[in-house]
Symmetry: C2
Subunit: 351 residues, 2 copies
């Protein structure tokens, strides 16, 4: 029921995801009286879904604490509960981010060894895709938090991007060791001694350059970087659009280049990078933009599915519990997003 | 002598600036044995410049403390000294940022009422241009620092952009009052009570959207935003370039739209936004990118000239000393960058 265009875009998104990944099954949490009529014509979706009626919803502007206290019968809470109980292998929501994070933390708890969960996503870069975290869950971060984020992000990149040995960088304002906040310098010192492929400090322009596979930041800087990148991409796109309207010749040029330009638009389409994932929890939780349309929601479902299929949680538990074993594992195997580990992904439930 | 392409790009940049602004005169600080032969053929520049020989230079990777201690006879230091003594009305440099800031702080001092100088620059936006500060001079900022930056940035936007009553926003990770670091929330509370046209919290995507005329941030977030925006713009430009190489039709389209696309490139050319200005000092100090070419350097000189011509320092002194008077001034006058206030800008010295 969450997101500006819910529940329609959620249902349509699930339909697209089902077409892309026929193995998916859905538990759909929400107001049955609204969902059932909408799903009447969505035959394919109906066959592979179960509606779980929930009386309440979490509002978009509700405070996390309020949602936590009084939202026990909300679609969001019930969907997370289903992950906890094992009925669902993961949850995808376009609802209130703060409430989703708070509920997921309370219900699913963090993996032992992880103090705080973080939000991660992918960015298109000059060299492919780069994962970045934290994108806003933790405004203040200690050196330990940052080190844990680095390990979580590295596992995420191995699991979803299928990178063999992802490189990791710490977001800073310069590459020299003396730069930045104290927590950053401390985390830098710890990471240099770690088993990760740690590349040192990176700067804002390294994100789009794809200098490293994983960019680690505190939630404040990460959120600023994420939104600045989105805003800038939008601006340049607008400039390109205006360019082709600026003269007759340019308009003719557009007609010739149209097909290629449509591909370009798809390439920088934010809906391709829509799923922000909560890492560090005992369960897969993917948050879509509040403004997600069906395509955006389908992308979020796809990310959740990849993480489930590739055993992300098992890897995290192993990484933080048995660092020695996971180190051996890292040098031995490279598991791409096509390798099914058989974690039994019967259901991705969506709220 | 500072910057990757110095001194050639500096001399060429000064030549371009002189063509754009015939009223400029230069004191050129550096190694006369290298400068004089290069300037032999630059007749126009030679006529309006004086070479001031300096034996030393500040290296690009030199620590600020070292430069401060042992760089007393460097071109950078001597150029700043010339601003202090009144021989020059401002200084433009593409050299070591940390050293320039440290020297400028020690030699020129801050305007009474300002604790720390900040770095500011302009960004292209959906609605024109937006000024942002701090871009990296102050990694840790108190609420008072942020409030002072807001006032400095507002004066900067009035002086250089010629905005009547620039709106000011604080960079945060959400627009709600409860978000962000404590310093931010404190600064927010103070600014709400101030005489500025304060718009509240803004987010990373508001920079390119042009939501406000001045974006205020601590030096860490500001630097991350600046570099992320640069990196993203570069990435989208590269995607556009690849698009026109992706098929024969696209290549033909390029031929038609070529002239418009060249204009587009100029529009997002970082050299147009090259000058970062140190605000809060008793003197105009503009820092160009280390990799500046002649055009970039000329832009930096142009920014310095606008600030000098429009009496930026006087306005700052007034703003921080006599807030009541400046308030009256703000509501009365709007001085665009073409209005000459006659501060007597005989020389912009370049190092």
């Amino acid at each position: 029921m969450g997101g500006d265009n819910a529940p329609r875009s959620v249902l349509r998104g699930a339909t697209i995801a089902k077409r892309r990944h026929p193995d998916l099954e859905f538990l759909i949490f929400g107001d049955e009286a609204r969902l059932a009529p909408m799903m009447k014509r969505m035959i394919r979706l109906r066959r592979s879904s179960t509606i779980v009626h929930t009386p309440d919803i979490v509002l978009a502007d509700e405070k996390a604490a309020t949602a936590l206290r009084s939202g026990r019968n909300s679609s969001m809470r019930k969907a997370i509960d289903a992950v906890r109980s094992g009925e669902a292998a993961g949850v995808v929501s376009a609802g209130n981010t703060g409430a989703l994070m708070a509920m997921a933390k309370v219900v699913l708890k963090t993996v032992p060894g992880i103090d705080r969960p973080a939000m991660a996503s992918f960015f298109p870069t000059m060299r492919g895709e780069t994962a970045m975290l934290d994108l806003g869950a933790n405004i203040e971060c200690s050196a330990d938090n940052l080190v844990q984020f680095a390990m979580m992000g590295e596992t995420f990149a191995r699991t979803v991007l299928g990178s063999l040995r992802p490189t990791v960088g710490l977001l800073n304002v310069g590459s020299e060791e003396v730069k930045g906040h104290e927590e950053l310098r401390e985390a830098h010192a710890i990471l240099k001694q770690s088993n990760l492929a740690y590349s040192g400090f990176v700067e804002g322009d390294d994100i789009a350059a794809g200098t490293v596979d994983v960019v680690v930041a505190d939630g404040f800087s990460g959120n600023v970087a994420l939104k600045t990148a989105e805003g800038t991409a939008k601006l340049v796109n607008e400039f390109v659009r205006q360019t082709f309207k600026s003269s007759l010749l340019a308009a003719i040029g557009y007609l010739f280049a149209r097909r290629a330009l449509i591909k370009l638009r798809a390439r920088v389409d934010p809906r391709r990078y829509n799923g922000a994932t909560f890492l560090g929890l005992n369960g897969i939780v993917v948050k879509c933009h509040g403004g997600s349309d069906a395509l955006g929601f389908a992308t979020g479902v796809g990310v959740a599915r990849d993480m489930i299929r590739n055993g992300f949680i098992d890897r995290m538990v192993q990484e933080f519990h048995e660092p020695a074993a996971s180190e051996a594992d890292r040098s031995r195997t490279a598991i791409g997003s096509n390798t099914v580990l058989g974690m039994g992904a019967q259901a991705v439930s969506s709220t």
